[in-house]
Each structure stands twice: as C-alpha cells, then as structure tokens.
Amino acid sequence: MGLNSLRIRLAGAAPAPVFVVCGLGGRERVVDLYAEPGLQVYSTPRHAGVLLVVGRLTRGLVAPALQAHDQMASPRLVVRWTAADGDDPGDHGDVFPNAVVAHGSAAEVAAAVAAAHRELLAGDRPPSAALLADIEPAPWQGVGPYGTGGTGMTGGVPFGRPMAARAADRDDLELDQLKLRLGPLLPSLPSGLVLDVALQGDVVQSAAVGDNPYRLYAGDPVPAAPAPGLFERACHQPVRIAELERARARHHLRWAAGLARLVGLEALGVRLTTLSARLAASEESAQAERLLTRIGRSRWVAGTFAGGDLDDAGLAGLGPVARAAGSEEDARTHDPAYRALGFEPVLGEGGDTPGRVRQRLAEAVQALRLATAAGDATTTVSGVVEGPRGRLGRGAPPPSAALVDLVAGVVEGLEWGDAVAAIASLDLDVEEAARHPQMAMP
C-alpha cells in the first residue's frame, strides 16, 4: 500500500499527459498549451491520459475524437476547454458525458487539467470508460480454397478490406501500395487536415485532401463570429504599424514553434511560444530577432528540409509562399506609411520547403524591425491588408482556402517526413478554409 501511494504521489506530480483535439476556434489556444509546464502534449493518444477538447467539437470531429479517446490507456479523462460565455449549441462535446469543463486562459485550463488528473490518479474521480463498442472493425469474410474470399490467394476481401494492390513505383518494381486516410487529429499535420494518401514505403505517391471536419452541416448553428483580428480590422480602419507588425511576427513565431516541434525540438518550440507572448517588451523582441536570425542563417534549414517545390504561377495573394517562390507582390508596398519606413518585401528565398521556411523567418525578423522603427505611424486604409498568410480583403477568399488546394501537389513524391514539413511550411489553417463560403475544399 505504501509503495502504491508513493507511486500515485509521484505520478500526480508529473505533467499531465495530454492529447489535444483541436475543435472549431481552438487553433490559437492549442498553440499556447504546448508551452504550459504543467502539461505534456503528446502526438499520439496512446501516450496520453487526458483528452483535451479545445473549442467546439464539430460533427466531423466526433468520430475521430471518440476513437482517440478509446485509444488512450486507462485511467483516462476528458477535459473540454470551452468558451467562457456558456453553451454553444453546435458543440457535440456532450458525447463525452463525464468530461470536465474548463475555461479561461491556457494557464487556468492547464491547472484545471492537472488537478483533475491528480484526482483521477488518486481514485477520487471515476476513469472514463470506453465509449465505442469493442467489436472487430472488419470481421473475417474469407471463403474459398484459401480462405481469402475470392479466386486465387490474392482475391477477395478477407477482412472486409481489400488486400493491398500493386502499383507502379519509381524503382519499376510494382510493389504494393498502401492507401490511408490520415488526420484530422494527427498532430504532425495542421489541425483538422484530412489527407488521403497512397504510400509506397514512406514515399507519398499521391495525396488528396479529404472532407473538412470544421465545415458546418445544414442545421448546424453558425458559431458566433470570432472577434475580428487585428489584420481584419486593418482592412477598414487604420491601425498602428508597430502593433500590426508585432502581430505578424507573433504569428510567424508561433508557426516556427510548431515547426520546431515537428523536427524534434520541443524545447525550442516552448521557447518560441513563450517569446511570442511577450513581443511588446523590447528586450524579448530583440531576443526573438536574434533567435530567428540565427535559425534562418544556420545550415539546419537546408539540412532539415527538402523538396516541396512550387512555381510561382497560381500563388497570387499567398503572401510568404508566393514571395518565397519569387513573386514580388506585397500589399504593404502600396501603403505610403510603409514606404515612408523604407519597406521593401523580402524576396525569393526559394520556392521549396527550405525556401519557405527561410522566407517566413526573414519576414518575422523584418516585421520585428519594422515594429521597432514604426513609432506611432499608422496604416493607410485601402481595403486590402497583407496578412501573415497572404492578402486579406473584404469579400476575398481567405488565403488558407487556396493553400489547402496546394497540399496535394506539394507532397507528391516526397518521403513522409519531408511531406509533413512541406505541409507545415505552407502554414495553412483548415478552419479558415472552412469559413470560406464557397468551401474551396473538394
């Protein structure tokens, strides 16, 4: 007994192991979670004990979330991080009947999660039971001489799934192809992205973006429009350049934090996220500038990333992605206030993954410098603003809608690690793509 209670006390002091389900409106909050010292966010539910649902659990996310829940090792627990102001009728979070509901800042939620997790370990809170029936997902259907259900040894669908089929490959060997659906909860992809891939070994032979889990179905209540961000506001009212550019740098820093995690530098990701929250202070701003310059200049970018080429045709309005590929467009060049600051767009770091990574790092540094130089200058309103992902304007489709369309082309032929990095270098927001009325998704 003494040993067991010691184990429980020790375990309770460990950071709570969390797997995050990023719901509608949860993207920015999820980024903050990674930097919370009381939490350890894992990239697979099997390592975790707490399923943390951030934002609205849409209809498209219910099935994957339930599956992730049942894949967590028991004792397990569900926490929902909802908006503070009461019920969201479109939230399907009630599929988790015993979920703990938390709201507030990331730190407050982290504290709530840690407390609930400690209670769970101490036995004061009942563990969450399996929610899906434990049945054979694809029962045996074999008949015939070999039990495979068809003619010969390769025919039929013995487990309710077709056997792997051969397809041409680059070694001219015609080996088997593996067709998979990945996402929407896979943390190495942007949250919500569903990717149907055909893999041969770990080379992506073809890919297609699947249904957007954030899209609303007929009858779903429309979520309260999120408070317009600084960039949206800048479309129709002047804002301070310093503030705008700091927001841009902040966005790129948080993107870089995700990328750092992807290449195994979790601690660096925490550092970048923490810095992003304190950019207003000049000391932190200078620190971030130094760090980004160092990362961008080092040989790591060239050694860690490869492939993912895009030519600059069809990239209109895609900001850093387009500028990396050599396009010169930047809405800021037309703004006299920026011209007065001597603004020139950063150009042509390269149309591939390392190029886009360097481009964003360089633009973040540039944004920090502009913010320092701008003083009290404000933007000139023209209806169009250069957002961190690309051009924003009233009525124009958000850049993510076009970025999502680029995914399938950019990953084709890449090894899986490169494919993941290539998608990350596009910096797309699946939720933003779903908000687009025409729903540019297939």
Binding site: T44, R46, A68, F159, R170, L173, L182, L199
Partner: protein
C-alpha cells in the same frame, strides 16, 4: 553440468525454431525464427569455445534476417500471415528428402568413427584464428574477400534497372514517381538500399493508427 543442460536446451531450441520457420504463416516470424535457430547455434559455438565464430554468426545473421524480413514484406502478398495460406509444392517428396538426408547424416554422425581429440581448454581460439587467417590461410581469406566483392558488384548489376549495357548507366537523377514519366531511367540501386526503401504490403491497413 550447467553447460550440458544449456547445450541440450540450445540444440533443442535450434531444431524447434528451424522447424517452425516452415510452419508459420507470418513471414516476419519465419525470418526471425530462423534467426533464433542461428542464435542458438551461435550460442552452441560459444559453448564449444569458438566464441568469435559464434558471436560473428549472430552479428551477421541479425542484419541478414532483418533484410530478409524486408524482402518478404516487399514481395509477398500476405506477409503478416493474417490470411491462412499454404505455399508448398511437392510436399511429400520434400518431407521424404528431408527425412532421408537427416537419417543419412545422422547415421554418419553416430556410426562414424571420429578421433576423440577435444580442444585443450587454454587454447586462445580467437588469436589462433587471427594468425591462421593472416598466415597459412591467407590465400583462402583473400579469395573469400574477392568473392564477396564480386558478389557485391554482381548483385548491384543484377538489381539495377535495365542492364545488359542499357539503361542502368543513367547517372544519379532523382527517379520520377511513375516509371513512364522518367525521361532518363533511374539510377542503379543496390539490393540493400532497395530493401531499406522497400514499399510494403500490409494487407490490413492500420485502422488503429492515431490518425483517427
């Protein structure tokens, strides 16, 4: 005493796992059962005071069997053996041949009159082997090395695309995804690398993946 029990156990293990190699549906298990058989024989060699040979046998076979698994997965339609299957021919003849060869060899082993000259305990086998390799048997050792080199070249020539003076020379262009899309044919790849980058079949896709 302990050594005796251990050797009998190892001999039994090597025979049992060798038998299971041809009785399992899973290719991965087949290859690693073979490795178990080799490891048991390797341990027997160590007990027979041929430490170096025993350990090198294990060292070699670990890599070899893993490559074998990769090849199995590459080329077999049902590598995990989740579908029952029988892939044998001339079964009875094979069993008969196996029994006959066992009986013949065992007879030689039991009835043969081998001189009883056990190795002295203090023989330092490894350094003796070293002096042998680079002394009297230098020629054999060198021939083995040359044979291995020739094998490497031959294997690369065989596995590279095209061959017979065509195609495989095409340099080191990155291969295109689809073979027909290549303007110039893909470069030669040797057997080892092909195994490593092998596409795999896995007849039951990992629906359990965290992909959700």
């Amino acid at each position: 005493m302990i050594t005796d029990v251990l050797s009998w156990g190892l001999a039994a293990l090597s025979l049992w796992s060798a038998w299971r190699v041809f009785r399992t549906d899973s290719m991965m298990r087949a290859a690693y059962l073979l490795l178990a058989s080799f490891a048991a024989v390797g341990a027997l060699l160590v007990l027979l005071s041929a430490e170096f040979l025993g350990l090198v046998l294990v060292l070699m076979m670990a890599g070899e069997m893993t490559i074998m698994v990769v090849f199995m997965v590459m080329f077999m339609m049902n590598p995990a053996g989740l579908n029952p299957m029988t892939m044998v021919h001339q079964h009875r003849a094979a069993v008969a041949a196996g029994i006959v060869s066992f009986a013949g060899l065992a007879l030689v082993g039991v009835a043969g009159d081998f001189p009883d000259r056990p190795a002295a305990d203090e023989v330092t086998t490894t350094s003796a082997l070293g002096f042998e390799l680079l002394g009297d048997s230098m020629l054999i050792f060198q021939s083995a090395g040359v044979t291995l080199l020739a094998t490497m070249i031959g294997a690369v020539a065989l596995t590279s695309r095209g061959g017979r003076f065509g195609d495989a020379h095409a340099g080191s262009d990155a291969p295109a995804l689809a073979p027909e899309a290549t303007a110039s044919p893909a470069p030669a790849t040797d057997a080892v690398e092909e195994g490593a980058h092998a596409a795999h079949e896995h007849d039951r896709h990992g629906a359990e993946g965290e992909a959700g």
